[in-house]
Symmetry: C2
Subunit: 109 residues, 2 copies
């Protein structure tokens, strides 16, 4: 059985993972890979309402994925940890495997 420390660690890790586990948030991460951006431009790029994007950004910031600075009227967000991008290389691996499996299945028809 897990002890309390492990439990707490896994909860923290899950919180961070959850902050990445949404298509819109992944689109945001993808967009921010190339540099910081304001809410306005992020919303335009991912194709969603600003208020919705604002909420997603605050979830990600809360989880420690993003940080921001204010510049006049604008709020500029950026990735706090570029390592986040590595996560998606893992995810891509899983996807490639899935593709391979489907291929095998097709051949067996």
């Amino acid at each position: 059985m897990l002890n309390k420390d492990k439990r707490l660690l896994f909860e923290k890790q899950a919180e961070i993972a959850r902050a990445m586990a949404h298509p819109l948030r992944i689109a945001i991460i993808h967009f921010l890979k190339d540099g910081e951006q304001c809410v306005c431009d992020i919303a335009e790029n991912v194709g969603s309402e600003r208020s919705n994007v604002s909420r997603h950004l605050s979830v990600m910031t809360g989880a420690g994925l993003l940080e921001y600075r204010k510049d006049g009227l604008k709020v500029i967000y950026k990735l706090k940890c570029i390592c986040i991008v590595d996560f998606f290389s893992c995810v891509t691996d899983v996807l490639k495997r899935q593709a391979k499996d489907s291929e095998k299945l097709l051949k067996a028809l």
Copy 2:
């Protein structure tokens, strides 16, 4: 704005990320790092009902994180992709940064 292919990709990636974004599922991944295990032992190790664990396992299997084989009465699960473990090194990086930030804040008091 995102095109359809990107949208689909991000949705697939989110599905995989979601399959990791739960404390119990992270505990399962953690437990399976050292080798395959049956549902029974997984449930015991993570400290949750078998029926619940069974459901989590099927989510993870559906997302392509796990695979299983049957052995008599038992069903043995294992990680399909050890790269999943890399993901948590990224998460750990984020956590370390958070810890550093808290420390800074404390010193400023």
